[in-house]
């Protein structure tokens, strides 16, 4: 794997939220690698830090949150320490994002056309410099984008407000906006959670389809391993602010190495192993304030041992695979 092949590389990212009860370590030493053209699935329960990790990448962490440490390299540039102006130029143009619910992510008071146009206006460098020509070009491009995501008669719908579209249409529009400047990386944060099952599939198809056509990378943040299984090359499982397992999607699903991953798989009907009952993981994600130095899954882990009560690092767990479980090390030794 050449260095040039890597689009995004995050090392030891730490993002904390300062609260009255103490610092919440929402992201605690996370490493991420996204290659050009690939789709990385990021899986975890809510509160696992998966969204915060990528908000950090985009520089969207707001007070009382802050990035406490780590390195973020994107396309050869260090993003941490970048001025707001440079960061703004990267957001949207190079790294784009879609959000869980397009109904809340699209501004209700602005027309769809305006929300598309402002994205193009801010980032598209191929447009004429100014004046009517620019306006016309933006409009043409907007129509083209809406057509790309499959909005019928896009020309007439630019002047409409978000609430005038159906849920699936809105999601498509949000994707159109995110993709309009032709970003290198799309972070799709829970793109399907708010949608019906049938529409979910259409939207995911759309993302995969466009990825293939534009050759961009996609990070698909979801709590649904099933979605990842269908659409992503690699997967990264997060728990309580840490990565617990990563590897090629097929490998991870076929042979999960971390008990949490196994638990996740068991809770999904489609993917659970034949013959085994579907069961959710019991217990709750631990409070992220003042965690003791131990495996964070300890309290919920069906396979916990006394040796889990120490700091557990990521360990290699096969080709291109790593996991954060003390049991792996013992296997390796054995």
């Amino acid at each position: 794997m050449s260095q040039n092949d890597i689009l995004l590389e995050v090392e030891d990212l730490r993002t904390v939220f300062d609260t009255s009860e103490g610092a919440v370590r929402a992201v605690d030493g996370v490493d991420v690698t996204v290659r050009r053209g690939e789709c990385l699935g990021v899986v975890g329960e809510s509160g696992s830090g998966k969204s915060v990790t990528f908000s950090s990448v985009m520089g969207l962490v707001r007070a009382p949150g802050r990035i406490a440490g780590g390195r973020i390299r994107f396309d050869g540039r260090d993003l941490i320490g970048l001025g707001p102006r440079d960061m703004r130029a990267i957001r949207g143009r190079d790294i784009s994002m879609t959000m869980q619910d397009a109904l809340t992510a699209l501004n209700p008071a602005l027309t769809v056309g305006e929300q598309l146009a402002e994205m193009l206006n801010a980032h598209d460098e191929d447009l004429p410099a100014r004046g009517g020509a620019r306006r016309r070009a933006i409009r043409e491009k907007s129509v083209e984008m809406l057509r790309l995501v499959g909005i019928p008669s896009p020309d007439s719908r630019l002047g409409q407000y978000p609430h005038e579209f159906s849920g699936g249409m809105r999601q498509r529009i949000m994707i159109a906006i995110a993709l309009a400047p032709g970003p290198k990386l799309l972070i799709a944060d829970e793109p399907t959670t708010a949608l019906d099952v049938t529409i979910q599939a259409q939207v995911l198809e759309l993302i995969s389809d466009i990825r293939a056509r534009l050759g961009m990378s996609v990070v698909l943040i979801t709590h649904d391993l099933g979605v990842v299984a269908e659409h992503c090359d690699r997967v990264m499982v997060m728990y309580a602010g840490q990565v617990v397992e990563e590897g090629a999607t097929v490998d991870v699903i076929a042979n999960p190495r971390h008990p949490y991953t196994r638990g996740l798989l068991a809770s999904i009907p489609r993917l659970s192993m034949r013959g085994q009952p579907i069961r959710p993981i019991e217990g709750q994600v631990p409070n992220l304030v003042g965690l003791p130095p131990q495996c964070r899954f300890y309290s919920r882990c069906p396979e916990r041992m006394d040796s889990c009560l120490q700091t557990v690092a990521m360990r290699p767990a096969g080709p291109g695979r790593r996991a954060r479980c003390i049991a792996i090390a013992e296997e390796a030794v054995a």
Binding site: L60, R91, S96, L106, N107, P108, E118, H123, A178
Partner: protein
Amino acid sequence: MSLGKLTERLLHLVPVLLGVSVIVFLMMALTPGDPVDIMIGDQSVTPEEEQAMREDLGLDLPVHRQFLVFLGNAVQGDFGTSFYHRRPVFDVIVERLPATIELSLVALVIALMTAIPLGVLAAIRRNSILDKMATVGSLLGVSLPGFWFGILLLMLFAVHLQLLPVSGRIGFDSEIEPITHFLLIDTLLRGRPDAFWDALKHILLPAITLGLPMTAILMRVTRTSMLEVMRQDYIVFAEAKGLRRGRILFRHALKNALIPTVSVAAIETGSLLGGNMIVETVFGWPGLGRLVVESVFLRNYPLVQAAVLFYAVTYVLLNFIADLLYTTLNPRVKL
């Protein structure tokens, strides 16, 4: 919004306006004593005139007929005769309206121009010194008795510093032929910037006094709704789009945050009408508010009655406008 919907909403106002006029009518009808005697007071009146006043007020009819007469006349703008002015009440009120409306509008503009930027700043610099000062300021703003604050302003700026005039709408050197009767507009239409400046100096203190509570309220509303809006996903999404901060604040956030501000402003404009009584009295402003207060003491009941009705109707209409504005600004709400 379609014309039909608009008409429908307007029709909803009818029962409210009818109820309002019943109450205004009752205020007078239930006054103890003979209203004509009380109104005449120590004026010298012939029996014929007294009889005419009685007929004017329909006092010889049963109460429900009296109300119908009152309503019928009111709809035609006939509120009887202002005994002291010896002219129709309607005419007397209309003459005083421009001064009151101009004062209210300037107070509104001052309130909006200070409240919105301050509210936005307080929200985006939450918990900063500025935010805390704005909070304290808004608490003071609603706690200050207007009549007292007005007197203090008058003493400071007009009497001690002599920066601003003591009383009236415009200086005599700045006199102009009226066109709209709104002096700030007329002076400009007549090409007299000096007179405009003069009229502005006259209106400043009363408008500030009048607008203060409203400023406080609007600032809080703006701050609260701005904070609320800034938490919304579409702001995060706008940031993720890499838009400039100015565009995010003013186009994305403010447009939504102003929806409650604007509708509250429209409703509060109605409260300005009430404040006029006090402010016009303190500053000798020649508007309807002062006329009403004077009329109360002259027992000029037809005028007081007409003015109360006028204020109530205006208030109802302002609330209606607030509704319309809310609808217009907020594409999600359908009529």
